[in-house]
Amino acid sequence: MTTPAGIEIVGLTKAYGDHAVLEGVDLVVSAGTIHALLGSNGAGKTTVVKILSTLLRPDGGSAAVAGHDVVTAAARVRESISLTGQFAAVDEILTGRENLVLIAELRRIADPGGVADALLTRFDLTGVAGQRVATYSGGLRRRLDIAMSLIGEPPVLFLDEPTTGLDPQSRLEVWKTVRELAGHGTTVLLTTQYLDEAEQLADRIAVLHDGRIIADGTLAELKQLLPPTTVEYVEKQPSLEDIFLAIVGHDGAATKETR
C-alpha cells in the first residue's frame, strides 16, 4: 500500500461490451504529487477516472484511493475525493455563488456562505458570482467547476482534461490553479491529451496507450526513452510530444505532416 492519500491501481481492466478499453492498467500515484495521465482521444483516460471516482465498476484488477478500495469501500472513497469531470458539471440555472453553496451544503460544511465567498475571491469570480452560470464563458465555467471540487478540501482530486476546449488565456488560468493545489499537498491525477500540459503541471507522467500504461516517470526519465539518434537531428530539447510519438511507435515525420 502507498501512503494513505495516494492512488494504487493494479491490473485494472474494463470493456464496454466486447470493446476492451483497459487491458491491465498499473499505476501508483504518491500522496501530494501531481500525476498526469497522458493519452490520445479514446485511450481510456475518462474510463480510469470514472472507475477511481466510483462511477464505474471495473471488470478486473483493483484500485485503491486514499487506502480504500473503489469497489468494496466506495463510500469511503467518495469521502476522500473530488471529481472535475471532462465536461464542466455546474448547475446552469443557479448563480456561481449558489453552485458553491450547494456543494458546501451537500458536504455538510459549517459555513457554506463563507466557504463560497472565499472560493469566489480565490478564483477571481466575485464579479460574476451573482450571475447565472448559463451566461458564463467556457473558462469561467471551468474555474467555477474546479472551485466546486475544492470545497471540503478532499485529499485526492481528479481533473479529467481540465483545459480541453478552453481558449489559451483560460488555459493558463487553470494551470495556475492546478499549480496552487500542488502547494496545498493535494494528490492530483490529471488527464490530458496535451503533451505540454503534462510537461507544465505534472511531477510524473504516465502514458496510457492500447489499454496499458506504456511509460511512467518524471519528464527527465521519459526523455531518456528517446532513441539517442533522434537527438542529433534536433537542436532544441526534445519535447514530450517527441517522446510520446517515439514510445507509441508512430512515424514522427508522417505525423508532423498531418499537423
Partner: protein
C-alpha cells in the same frame, strides 16, 4: 445515515425548487394544455355531451386534473435528464451524498410543481363555473388521491429521465399517459362506448380515479370505486418506484 438522507434531500429539493422559481413557465405550460382542453370541451363539445344532471365542467374537471399531472411529469423527467446528461449527476454520485437523496429531491419537487399547476387549473375551472359541495375532508381526500397519483407518475417519469439518450426520448413517454383519460369516463360516460372500448375504459385506472374524485366533489359517498382508485394509485406507485429504483441502482454502479 437516515439523517443524511433527510439533510441531502432537503438541500437538493431546495435546489430544484429554485429551478422552478427561475422558470415558472414550466408550471404555466403544464397548466395550459389542460386548461385549453377544459375550454374546448366545456364551450365547444360540452353542449353535445350528455352527462345527466351535472354541469359539464363539474363532470370534466377530475379527468382534466389527471391530464395536468400526466403532462407535468414530463418536466420532472426533463429536469433529471438535464442533470444526467450535463455531468451534475456524476458530480453528485462521486460525492459523499446519501444515494436516494438525488431522486427524492426531484420527486418531491415534482409533487410541489404539479400541485401548483393543479391549483391553477382548479382556479380556472372555478371561474368557468365549477361548483362543489365538498367539505374539508372530501377536499383532503381529493388532495390525497392527487398526491398518490402524482407520486406514481413521477416515479414512472424517473425511468426515462435517467435512461433517455435525447430530449425527445424524455418527453415521449408521457403522451400515452395524456391519452389514457380519453378512453375512460373522464370526458364522456362509458355507457355509450362500443363494448370492447367500454370494457377497456372501465378496467383501466383513470375511470375509478375520475369517478371517485367526481363523487368527492359532488359531496356524495364514495363506494367501492374509491377503494379501487386508491388501490390503482398505490399499486402503480409501488411498481413505478421499484422499476425506477432498479434503473437507478444499475445507473450508479
Amino acid at each position: 445515515m437516515t439523517t443524511h438522507v433527510v439533510h441531502d434531500t432537503d438541500v437538493l429539493l431546495r435546489r430544484s425548487l429554485r429551478h422552478i422559481l427561475r422558470s415558472p413557465d414550466t408550471i404555466i405550460t403544464t397548466a395550459v394544455t389542460p386548461i385549453a382542453m377544459l375550454l374546448l370541451f366545456v364551450y365547444v363539445f360540452g353542449s353535445a355531451i350528455d352527462v345527466g344532471s351535472d354541469s359539464y365542467v363539474n363532470y370534466l374537471l377530475p379527468g382534466i386534473l389527471l391530464i395536468t399531472v400526466a403532462s407535468g411529469i414530463a418536466y420532472t423527467a426533463f429536469r433529471l435528464f438535464t442533470d444526467v446528461s450535463g455531468g451534475v449527476f456524476e458530480r453528485f454520485q462521486s460525492m459523499p451524498i446519501a444515494r436516494p437523496a438525488f431522486l427524492w429531491g426531484h420527486v418531491l419537487t415534482s409533487v410541489v410543481a404539479n400541485l401548483t399547476s393543479l391549483v391553477i387549473v382548479v382556479i380556472v375551472a372555478l371561474l368557468m363555473g365549477f361548483r362543489t359541495g365538498a367539505g374539508v375532508l372530501a377536499w383532503l381526500a381529493v388532495l390525497g388521491i392527487m398526491v398518490l397519483f402524482t407520486l406514481a407518475l413521477t416515479w414512472l417519469a424517473v425511468i426515462p429521465g435517467l435512461t433517455a439518450k435525447s430530449v425527445d426520448g424524455v418527453s415521449g413517454f408521457s403522451y400515452p399517459l395524456i391519452f389514457l383519460p380519453f378512453v375512460s369516463s373522464a370526458f364522456v360516460p362509458t355507457e355509450g362506448m362500443p363494448a370492447p372500448v367500454r370494457w377497456f375504459a372501465e378496467h383501466q385506472p383513470v375511470t375509478p380515479i375520475v369517478n371517485t374524485i367526481r363523487d368527492l366533489f359532488a359531496g356524495q359517498p364514495v363506494g367501492g370505486e374509491g377503494v379501487i382508485a386508491v388501490a390503482w394509485c398505490v399499486g402503480l406507485l409501488l411498481v413505478a418506484y421499484a422499476l425506477a429504483m432498479r434503473t437507478y441502482r444499475r445507473k450508479i454502479t
